[in-house]
């Protein structure tokens, strides 16, 4: 799961600069998409919803896409929308469905029968890491302290997370303790039904460590009630250079929670290339920068084949972990 943000960005800038020069000539209208229809597998206000609407806003306002429309369709942890996109693929040439890491987890655990292979992966556009957070007055000064306690008595480390057992927050914690040589099945994971409630559980003192997304952890730490012990990126983040990665601390684990877009199965290669090109160009528009900054998103562009390879890799590593935890046979 390696991705070098800065390098990727540089080549993106080059590519778009080139594309920009070319399109300034005759072929501009051929490069702009007429319409994109965003299919959102969840309700209003959620993470998928903001990603799709933010991306749509940037694409439309920057003139890359003429008309943008949205459709929310929740149910079955996203499975409803996937099934719908496959069933009506013939009429969904201009549709982009937003999704994220859970599509990998949920298709592994057979929440829905389909996987990303039944769709056309277009690109991962933004990403976030996992992070481990403790209360400001916690005895833990480093993630190493947590691991030491875990080795002595795994039940003494109570890890809160804002989603059910077997979903992302739990898997990230299990992954970290496994890399530290512990038994991931002995991780005491306390599930809350929302991230905010998990945070309340940490602050009220019933849980000792919170497993959450890095960007969320950053804003919580900024308010001064919690400290971030470690994050799951490959290298430190510019946004918080003092937070070490798990790798640096000697635990061979990394995890990225991506968000990206899928098109209907069986769309033409030209259509797919147009989607990819449009998203690629989006990164250099000021409109995208506005949306990105507003939401605190970190860019990670993995188009087409790179996206597929990444998904396969993630499916493999997450699947191994879930098997070990007993969620898969």
């Amino acid at each position: 799961m390696s991705f070098k943000l800065s390098a990727a960005k540089k080549s993106t800038i080059l590519a778009t600069a080139l594309a920009g020069c070319l399109s300034a000539g005759a072929s501009f209208s051929a490069m702009a998409l007429d319409s994109v229809h965003f299919l959102i597998p969840g309700g209003a206000g959620g993470g998928w919803d903001t990603t799709a609407r933010g991306t749509g806003e940037a694409l439309h306002k920057s003139g890359l896409v003429d008309t943008v429309s949205y459709e929310n369709m929740s149910g079955g942890g996203g499975g409803k929308a996937i099934a719908h996109l496959i069933e009506t693929a013939g009429q969904k040439q201009d549709t982009l469905m937003v999704n994220s890491t859970p599509i990998v987890i949920r298709s592994l655990s057979k929440v829905f029968p389909q996987s990303f292979r039944d769709l056309t992966p277009v690109a991962a556009t933004i990403g976030d890491f996992g992070a481990f957070v403790v209360r400001d007055d916690s005895k833990y000064q480093s993630f190493n302290d947590v691991v030491a306690d875990f080795r002595n008595n795994p039940r003494s480390v109570k890890i809160a997370g804002g989603s059910a057992r077997g979903s992302m927050d739990h898997l990230v914690a299990a992954m970290a303790f496994k890399a530290a040589g512990g038994d991931p099945r002995r991780v005491k994971y306390v599930a809350y039904d929302a991230g905010g409630k998990a945070m309340a559980g940490l602050l009220s003192g019933e849980a000792t460590v919170l497993s959450t997304g890095f960007s969320e952890a950053l804003s919580l730490a900024e308010a001064g009630q919690v400290r971030i012990l470690a994050m799951t990126g490959e290298q430190r983040s510019d946004a918080a250079p003092h937070v070490p990665t798990l790798r640096e601390l000697g635990y061979d684990a990394a995890f990225v929670n991506w968000r990206g877009f899928f098109a209907a199965p069986g769309i033409s290669n030209e259509q797919k290339a147009e989607f990819v090109e449009t998203l690629r160009k989006m990164y250099d528009t000021p409109e995208w920068e506005t949306v990105r900054a507003r939401n605190g998103w970190a860019e990670t562009f993995k188009p087409d084949a790179k996206f597929v390879a990444f998904l396969e890799e993630q499916e493999q590593s997450v699947g191994d972990l879930m098997r070990e935890l007993g969620f898969l046979k």
């Binding site: 149910g75 809350y192 905010g196 849980a207």
Partner: protein
């Protein structure tokens, strides 16, 4: 702190921000009145508008929309039994019977006064104690929430008057059972989903309330053929007087005060919220009522309307405590507002009222104006809004059906929800014909889900030991109160009988309490 409050005051009284309060309250009330469309939808609609505003104005607008929607939600609960939002479901329990007794005007006015008082008391407490209240938000752990929900369930013990207790209990258990459908948070396993994708997220509370109240009621009307008979009767008279008598005010005042404070505290807890507050306040009021008054609950008791209405508005004000002072959203609505604050580059937390005093205090101060605006906006509108009842039934009924179904659909965007609504409605009609009360089922459902989550969390934390029930003082205190509430009604007849034997002519426990309508 005083400096901060002054900064906030000057920000809040800026003409533009006052305008935002009015716009927010108006939009919120209107969206809240539509059955099913509650604060979440209303606040989500405001997101694109707030991008262009500065932080204070944006949050003032969203806050206005939020409590405006909770305010407006009571209207459709009272008039057509279709809850405007989740936190006004309880309002329908006694509000709709009042409207049917041709006291719609009084019910709406009472709801407006109660909401106003709840919101204002909440805002006052917020102004004086917001930073200090953060510790209250964090004082509740999973075991305490479990005990609190247990206490809430005791409200059902006498839910539906004489002879109905058993039926009420059956329905509560039915509600608890429905709450177990969906993914179990602690194990991650789907339960009772019959392999269906659509049941994995469980049943939504609003859907259940809409189907069992609004839809079942409407279909029953059609079945009974009332839509033909009652037309000439439905006249201007249906509004009734909007005035409350002195005695009624006297009866209601303590209820409103109690429920406001109680609702505020529940709202401050991030694991509870306005809907839970309205249920608990209703239950509390029932438990406090005399035996004679208890029978009126569910049949148009003024106290049964005032309690949830004060509590839900106080609670939505209270939910700003964890949001602003800890950055913890207690509900979907406040989660959206947290997102908006962060998008402005403002991180709510213990330092917010130091770092951004203008935002922090102006939002709180704007709530006074907001509640005043809501009262001024709503009271004169009552005669017009209640004209809704004058609409001929053949037109009103399809309208209610339409709004109820679209309201639920617009939350989930899943057509399966519509099918499920129809099935539940049919089931509810059968149960209603057999005289099973619906309210206990909703109580069991809403409390049951939270109760189970917190119990399994508490058990995980304590490695499967039930010791948390007596080891944590707060949990123990709530458990003891629960036991008292359950046992006192069983023991008190014995005691009063013992007393009665001494004073031979005393008729029984009911007459011992002389509180009442006087």
């Amino acid at each position: 702190m005083l400096d901060g409050i002054m900064t906030g005051l000057t920000t809040a009284v800026m003409p533009f921000n006052l305008l935002m309060v009015v716009v927010g309250c108006f939009a919120g009330t209107f969206i809240g009145m539509l059955p099913g469309l509650g604060p979440i939808s209303a606040v989500a609609l405001m997101i694109p508008i707030t991008y262009g505003l500065d932080p204070s104005s944006g949050i003032i607008l969203m806050a206005g929309v939020y409590y405006g929607a909770v305010f407006g939600g009571s209207t459709s609960s009272i008039l057509i039994n279709a809850p405007g939002c989740a936190s006004t479901v309880v309002t329908a329990f006694d509000g709709y019977p009042l409207a049917q007794q041709k006291q719609a005007g009084k019910a709406l006015a009472l709801a407006a006064y109660s909401s106003f008082t709840g919101g204002t008391i909440g805002a006052i407490v917020l102004l004086f104690a917001a930073p200090a209240l953060a510790s209250v938000s964090l004082s509740f752990q999973s075991s305490d929430y479990f005990a609190l929900m247990l206490l809430g369930l005791t409200a059902v013990a006498a839910f539906s008057g004489k002879g109905q207790v058993l039926k009420a209990m059956i329905m509560t258990i039915f509600g608890l059972m429905i709450a177990t459908v969906g993914t179990d948070v602690m194990s991650g396993a789907p339960r009772f989903t019959f392999g269906s994708l659509d049941l994995i997220d469980g049943v939504s509370f609003l859907l259940l309330a809409m189907a069992t109240f609004a839809l079942a009621e409407v279909v029953m009307t059609v079945l009974k053929g009332q839509h033909k008979e009652e037309e000439p009767e439905m006249d201007m008279a249906s509004l009734g007087s909007m005035k409350l008598s002195k005695d009624e005010v006297k009866e209601i005042a303590p209820t409103v005060a109690r429920s406001s404070v109680f609702g505020f505290i529940i709202g401050v807890l991030p694991g509870a919220g306005a809907t839970i507050a309205s249920f608990l306040a209703y239950g509390l009021e029932r438990n406090l009522a005399s035996a004679k008054e208890k029978l009126k609950f569910g049949k148009g008791a003024l106290r049964g309307l005032a309690a949830p209405e004060s509590a839900n508005n106080a609670a939505s004000t209270g939910s700003f405590v964890p949001l602003l002072t800890l950055g913890i959203p207690g509900s979907g609505t406040t989660a959206i507002m947290l997102g908006a604050l962060i998008a402005y580059g403002i991180q709510p937390g213990p330092r917010l009222f130091i770092d951004n005093p203008d935002v922090f205090w102006s939002v709180i101060i704007s709530m006074y104006f907001g509640n005043l605006v809501l009262l001024i906006l709503n009271l004169p509108l009552i005669p017009y809004i209640s004209r809704l009842l004058v609409i001929p039934r053949p037109i009103l009924i399809p309208l209610i059906l339409f709004f109820s179904i679209t309201g639920v659909y617009l939350v989930s965007f899943n057509t399966f929800d519509i099918h499920m609504m129809v099935i539940i409605t049919v089931l509810a009609i059968l149960l209603k014909l057999l005289n099973f009360p619906m309210a206990p089922m909703l109580l069991g459902f809403i409390l049951g889900g939270i109760m189970e989550n917190n119990l399994s969390r508490a058990l995980t934390l304590s490695d499967g030991s039930f010791a948390f029930l007596w080891e944590r003082p707060l949990t123990l205190a709530i458990v003891v109160i629960t036991l008292l509430v359950l046992l006192v009604p069983l023991i008190s007849p014995l005691i009063s009988r013992a007393i009665g034997k001494r004073k031979t002519s005393y008729p029984g426990p009911e007459a011992a309490v002389t509180e009442g309508e006087g």
